[in-house]
């Protein structure tokens, strides 16, 4: 049972995988509340566990993975206890739907676009075929497909990448889900199409009032869409806060690095700020702070003990020893100190 105002709650979740005979921890002690109707962005690089986390919400963990500790609750049901595929079918698609990076993985190449949408409408909304076709065309129009009536009978290969992603969104909407997980939905798309799809998702949320979990590796993309942002690193949430808190007042050095390495902030003639090294391999047991070896503000304690979550405000938490009283007071990188001011100047200059 979730608390008032929440739709999904994760408590002390650990997920592990068996790979080549050894147990690998992909998610470590994550607690997270998803509020109704909000857009939560989960930002992290590949291997950070962002997709693994949301797969536990729809029972789509790979067969060698399991929840080793903790709970996931959705409304009245405890998702972490569900075992059978039959139990999941009531949740998956119907309550929690997912849009993936590659739209072709969700589309059937040998059926027409229209039939794929209306099939879902018939199944989930119990309509007749004729009604379903009307609803399907309506959904196609809502997701911005021109000539929807004509294109209803076309096949996926006749659609461009951006149009296919719109169809996948239409199919997800046909189930009328409460939660929509967008797993890097724009990563494979061109920039102009990416901007359009983001606008579309925002507009549809206004109309259908669903809750969004938006997964991405690009912090720049979520500024316009997210209410809250969770930053993940190596299977842990290292910082979580409102969109403004993360962009204007972030506290974790990893978030600082992510922000300052955005090419939009780069200054001519200077090197881009880069994060040295590579993300930790899951094969190695993490001691202390997972980010420490790449962190220019790393302290001795970071290599010894895992930092706890510190509360910055009621909505803003960060997992770094820099927030302990004993730590030196470090300023965040100069590049992102007056981010808002800097961006206003830049946008003025460039039109």
């Amino acid at each position: 049972m979730v608390s008032e105002g929440n739709i999904l709650e994760v408590k002390n979740l650990n997920v592990s995988f068996r790979v080549r005979g050894s147990e690998i921890e992909a998610i470590h002690d994550i607690s997270l509340d998803l509020r109704e109707h909000e857009t939560l962005a989960i930002v992290g690089e590949s291997g950070s566990g962002k997709s693994v986390l949301t797969k536990t919400f729809t029972g789509m963990l790979e067969t060698n993975g399991r929840i080793s500790q903790g709970t996931v609750d959705y409304k009245n049901s405890r998702l972490s206890d569900l075992k059978l595929n039959k139990q999941w079918t009531k949740i998956r698609g119907k309550e929690i739907a997912t849009i993936f990076q590659d739209p072709m993985t969700s589309l059937d190449p040998i059926h027409t676009i229209g039939s794929q949408i209306s099939e879902v409408v018939v199944k989930h909304q119990g309509k007749t075929k004729k009604e379903a076709k009307k609803i399907a065309i309506d959904l196609m129009k809502k997701t911005g497909i021109p000539n929807a009536e004509k294109r209803y009978n076309e096949y996926p290969f006749e659609y461009s990448g951006g149009m296919r992603q719109r169809i996948v969104i239409a199919i997800a909407l046909a189930c009328r889900p409460e939660v929509l997980i967008c797993d890097e939905p724009t990563t494979a798309l061109d920039v102009t199409i990416q901007a359009q799809i983001l606008d579309l998702i925002k507009d549809l949320q206004q109309e259908y009032q669903f809750t969004i979990i938006f997964i991405t590796h690009d912090l720049g993309v979520v500024a316009s869409i997210a209410d809250r942002i969770a930053v993940m690193y190596s299977g842990r949430i290292v910082e979580i806060g409102t969109c403004e808190e993360i962009f204007y007042d972030s506290r974790h050095p990893y978030t600082w690095s992510l922000l300052s390495s955005l090419p939009q902030l780069a200054r001519k003639g200077e090197d881009l700020k880069s994060i040295p090294g590579t993300p930790p391999s899951l094969y190695k047991k993490i001691e202390g702070d997972a980010f420490a070896p790449r962190n220019q503000y790393a302290m001795g304690v970071d290599f010894k003990a895992e930092p706890p979550m510190f509360k910055v405000t009621d909505t803003h938490y960060a997992k770094t020893w820099l927030l302990d009283k004993r730590a030196p007071k470090v300023e965040k990188p100069e590049l992102i100190q007056n981010l808002h001011q800097h961006m206003i100047e830049m946008t003025k200059e460039d039109n």
Partner: protein, 326 residues
């Protein structure tokens, strides 16, 4: 459990979090060794090591491998001592030596000529296995080389396709029979008849595989580095096709052995004095009901040979596919 709850606890900022074994000094920024970040933590990978590990993982594979080893050793060593001769009729008048059912003295029994079936089977197996192995080797070597060139070169593709279409449309068994008849019987003649056209099937199969690999990005990269075609074939493409080639071998070995059996059954192929499993089966088939061991034991050994070869081949093909190494 204590530690777990502690970890999940949330602290206000600027509090002192109680932790064991940490002093005030640990809260000073330390300098980093940037090279440290580039270290790879994954265990060092070796292709053939992983193939061996995967291959020997299954107990069935090990059993089949042992079975095959025993059969091969028997086939290639036992005849050296038994002095078996297919046409020997020395014991034909010794009635005690004729038509013995399998016993402690004659493990597989004896036939109408008083010859031990045990000796006969291993002598026959030696021929059959030799034919299978030699014919497969020739087929694969010619097939893989021709196929690799065929798949890379767009110039010879049309000509080769025409040749392939003509040959592939004639049943291979028919070609072998006709060739055997025209060249006469004999061990090497039979191998020639078998491999004369068989390589083209392998070559065609390789052509398709090579064509798939040809346009892969890493081969384009090699070309932009000025790598000659020959090296692209040997360094870039063939190593990726190990698994495919092993699969092909594991199918062609048993099939050549069966061809020999079938041809000898028809009385074509090997010379009259050469023992082979096919010849034994054909020679003893009239005894299927009266002295069934004479017929069924050679069949059983033949089955064990083909099955063990096939399974080992398949397992080796699986093991040599790096996708299974995870």
């Amino acid at each position: 459990m204590q530690e777990k709850t502690n970890q999940s606890k949330i602290y206000e900022i600027d509090t002192i979090v109680p932790i064991a074994n940490v002093s005030e000094d640990d809260f000073a920024v330390v300098s980093l060794n940037s090279k440290e970040n580039e270290k790879i933590d994954t265990p060092k990978y070796s292709y053939w090591g992983s193939v061996a590990k995967k291959f020997f993982f299954s107990k069935i594979t090990i059993f089949m491998l042992l079975l095959m080893l025993v059969i091969f050793l028997m086939a290639f060593i036992q005849p050296l001592f038994s002095g078996y001769n297919l046409e020997s009729v020395g014991n034909i008048n010794d009635f005690k030596a004729r038509y013995n059912w399998p016993s402690a003295k004659y493990w597989f029994g004896t036939d109408a000529n008083g010859n031990s079936l045990f000796d006969a089977i291993w002598a026959g197996a030696r021929t059959s296995i030799s034919i299978g192995v030699i014919a497969s080797l020739i087929t694969e070597i010619i097939g893989v080389i021709v196929g690799a060139v065929w798949g890379i070169s767009k110039k010879i593709d049309r000509l080769m396709l025409e040749i392939y279409n003509v040959i592939a449309n004639v049943p291979s068994l028919l070609i072998i029979i006709v060739l055997s008849y025209s060249f006469g019987n004999g061990f090497w003649n039979l191998i020639f008849a078998m491999t004369c056209t068989s390589w083209i099937g392998t070559a065609y199969f390789m052509r398709v595989q090579v064509m798939i690999m040809r346009e892969r990005e890493y081969n384009v990269a090699s070309r932009t580095l000025g790598t000659p075609t020959k090296r692209i074939i040997f360094r870039n493409i063939l190593p990726y096709l190990t698994s495919v080639i092993v699969t092909d071998v594991s199918m062609s070995l048993p099939s050549f052995i069966s061809y020999e059996v079938f041809l000898s059954f028809l009385g074509v192929g090997l010379s009259q004095n050469v023992p082979s499993l096919g010849r034994l089966i054909s020679q003893y088939s009239p005894y299927m009901t009266s002295y069934p061991y004479l017929f069924w034991l050679p069949v059983l050994v033949l089955a064990l040979i083909t099955i063990s070869l096939y399974i080992i081949g398949q397992r080796l093909a699986d093991a040599s596919d790096p996708r299974t190494h995870l």
